[in-house]
Homo-oligomer: 222 residues x 4
C-alpha cells in the first residue's frame, strides 16, 4: 500500500488501465484522451479558483493549452464540463479504491483503507475537493438532471464492504446496509465539506482513526 494509492488522480497522473473502456466509450486514442484529461484538469483548477459561474471557458482553454473551440469537441457545454469532472474523476476514484481494497482481506481493513483514501485523496487534491463539495452542489443541472450513477457505484463499493463485514460477523446483523452505506458516505462527505469550508486549514488525515472508531463503534458488535 503506497502513498500514491492514497491520492486522487490529478493532472499528471496516467489513466488507470481499467479506464480503457472509458476511452473506448469516447472513441479516443491516447492523444485525444490526453487532451480530454488536460481540459478536465484545467477545468478543476479554474472552477476551484474562481467558482463555476465566474470561470470563463476561454480561461479553461488557456489553462489547458487548447483553443476555446477544442473544448466543445470533448464536452457538450460548460455544464457538461462540470458534470464530467464528477463522472470521470469518480470513475477513476472508484477504480483506484477497488484496486486498493482488493489488497486487503477483512472488512475492517477494507473500510479503513477506504476512509483513509477518501480523506487523503481530497487532501492531496484540494482543487477537486472544492469542486466536489462546493461547485457541484450549486449546479442546478447537476443536482436536478444528473443521475449520479458514479455516486451509486461508490455507495455500492461501501455497501459491499459492509455486507462482507456482516458476513464476517464483525458488523451487527441487524444493520441496514442500504442505510449504513449512506451513513458512512455522509460522514466522510461532511468531513470533507467542513474542511473545505474551513479553508482547508487542518489535517484531514488525522481524522481517519477517530472516524473509523465512530463508524466501527456505531456498526460493530460492541
Amino acid at each position: 500500500m503506497n502513498d500514491c494509492s492514497f491520492n486522487f488522480p490529478t493532472a499528471g497522473s496516467k489513466l488507470h488501465p481499467e479506464l480503457a473502456n472509458h476511452r473506448k466509450e469516447y472513441g479516443m486514442r491516447s492523444k485525444a484522451a490526453d487532451k480530454h484529461q488536460a481540459i478536465l484538469d484545467a477545468a478543476v483548477k479554474v472552477f476551484a479558483r474562481k467558482g463555476f459561474f465566474q470561470s470563463r471557458v476561454s480561461e479553461i482553454a488557456r489553462e489547458a493549452g487548447v483553443a476555446d473551440g477544442t473544448i466543445y469537441l470533448y464536452f457538450k457545454n460548460k455544464d457538461d464540463l462540470l458534470i464530467s469532472i464528477f463522472a470521470v474523476k469518480m470513475q477513476e476514484i472508484i477504480c483506484r479504491f477497488r484496486d486498493a481494497i482488493a489488497l486487503e482481506n477483512d472488512a475492517a481493513s477494507r473500510l479503513r483503507c477506504l476512509v483513509r483514501m477518501h480523506l487523503a485523496g481530497f487532501q492531496s487534491y484540494p482543487e477537486l475537493a472544492a469542486v466536489f463539495q462546493v461547485e457541484l452542489r450549486q449546479s442546478s443541472r447537476f443536482m436536478r438532471e444528473y443521475n449520479k450513477e458514479e455516486l451509486r457505484q461508490y455507495l455500492d463499493l461501501i455497501g459491499e464492504i459492509l455486507e462482507q463485514g456482516r458476513k464476517e460477523g464483525v458488523f451487527r446483523q441487524d444493520i441496514s446496509v442500504g442505510l449504513a452505506k449512506r451513513f458512512v458516505f455522509g460522514t466522510l462527505d461532511e468531513l470533507v465539506s467542513t474542511w473545505v469550508l474551513a479553508g482547508m486549514q487542518y489535517d484531514l488525515g488525522s481524522m481517519v482513526d477517530p472516524v473509523l472508531n465512530l463508524l466501527l463503534h456505531g456498526m460493530g458488535r460492541n
Copy 2:
C-alpha cells in the same frame, strides 16, 4: 422567552424598535423602509433559490413587486444587494439577540440562549441560511472589500458573555476571550454550513445541547 424571539426577522416581521436608528441612518420613512425591506427579502429568496450568479435583478424586482429600476434607488448594484443582506440582517440579529440575552442573568444561560437562537434562527429562515453560508462566501466582493463590521459586533456579543462567565468563575480564568469567541462562533457557523450543504434535512435544534456541552466542557472549570 417565546419561540418568536428565536427566529430571525423574515419577510413579514416588523422592524425591531431598536432598529429605528437604522431607518434614520438611511433617512427613510416607513414606506421607503418597507420597500427597502421588501427588496432585501426578495433578494434573499431569489439568491437562495438560484444562487447569486444565476439570479436576475429583474427576478428580484418581480419578487419584491417593484420595477427593476427601483432596486437601484435603494442599492448601489447587485453586489451591494448581497452585501446589504448580510449587513442589515446581521444588525437585526444582533439587536434581537442582545434583547433576548438581557433577559437571562448568568453567563451559561446567556450562552445557551445565544446558541439556541443562532441555530433556531437559521433553521426557521433557511433561505437566509443559504445566503449567509453559501452565497456570501462565494462573493469575492464580500470576502475582499467588505470589512464585516457586523461580524465583529456579533463576535463582541459572544465575547461579552464569555467575559462575564470568566468573572462569574464559571469559565476558566486562563481562557483567551479573543480566541474563545472565535471558537464559539466557528462551531456554530460550521454547524449551520454543514446543515445547509447537507440539504437542511435534519433538525438543527437538536444540536443545541450537545454543542453547549462541548463548549461549556471546553471552556468550563471542569
Copy 3:
C-alpha cells in the same frame, strides 16, 4: 448706452418689460415665471458644462433648486428645454437689441451697436455662447423640427438696419438685403463659434471695429 445693455440676460437679470406677453403666453404669474427662468438658466449652465447628452435632467433640477418633476410643468421634455433656451434667450436678446438700437439714429451707428452687443453679449455669458454655438447645432430636433422663428426675427432686425442704410445712402443700392443680412449674421456667428471652439481665450470685444470695417467696407459705397 451703458455697459449693462451690452450683456445678455443672465441668471440674475429681471425680465424685460416687453417680455410680459411671453409670460401671458405661458399664463404665468411672476413666481412661476421666476421658476421658469431659474430652470432655463440652470439648463444653460449644465448644458454648457457637460454638453446636452451628458447633462442629466436631475442635475438641472438641482442646479435650479426645484424637483425633477417640476421641470416638466414648464417644459415638455429635455429637448424642449434646449430649444426653449434658444427661443426665450433670443426673444430677450431681440428686445434688448431693439431698445438699444432705438437710441441710435443712423444705420451705421445702429449696426455698430448690434455688432457690439452681439459680441459683448456672448462674451459676458459664455455658457450661453457654448449652448448656442455648440449644443444647439448638435440637436437634430433643433436643426430639423424647429423653425427658428426667433432667428428670422433677428435677421429681420439686421435687415431693417441695412434697409435704413440703403435709404440713407450709406450702403450700396445694388445690395440684396436678403443676402446681406445673412452675411452680417454669418460673420458674427462664425466669430463667436470660433471663439468658443478656441476655448474663449481671447477678447471678442476687440473684434468689433475690424468686423465693422469689414462689413461697412463690403456693403458701403466705398
Copy 4:
C-alpha cells in the same frame, strides 16, 4: 502629385504600404485589419451622422456588416472607438503627408503641400471632419485621458518644415518653431472647424492661397 494624394484615406482606400507596421503592431493579418478598418470607417460614418452620444454600437456594427460583439474584439469600448478613429486616421494622414511632402524640396512648397492636403483632405472626407472637429472635442475621455501622441507627431511634421524654412532663410530667424507650428496648425484647425460648423457649404480649397499668404507673410522675411 495626383489628386488622390490630397485626400484622406477613406472607407474604400487601401492601406498605405508604410502602414504595414501598424498591422504588425496590432498583430493583424489582412483579414482582421480589414475588419478593423471596416468598423472604424463605419464608426466615422455613424458618429458623423448622429453624433457620438446618439450613435448606437449596434448601428455601427450593422454599418460595418459585423455583429455587435465583433466590435469589442477590436476596440475596448465605445469611447475607444472614437479615440481610435483619431489615432488611426491621424497615423495614416501623417504617413501620406510625409510621403507627399518628401516629393517637394523647398520649405515653402512643402508648407503649401501640407496646407493643401489638410484642407482638401477634410473636404473630401467630410464625415471624418465632423468627427475630428466636433465629436472628439466633446469627448471628455479624449480631452482628458488621451495624450494625443499623433497630434504631437503632426505638429512635429509642421515643425520640421518650419525649421527647414528657417535654415533656408525663407522664414525669419527669430521665429519660435515651437510656437509657430502651433500657430500653423491652429489656423488650419480653425478653418476646418468653422467650415464644419457652417455646414460645409463653401469650398475649403479656395482658402489654400489666402492661408498660405497669411502664414508666409507672418513668418516670412518680408
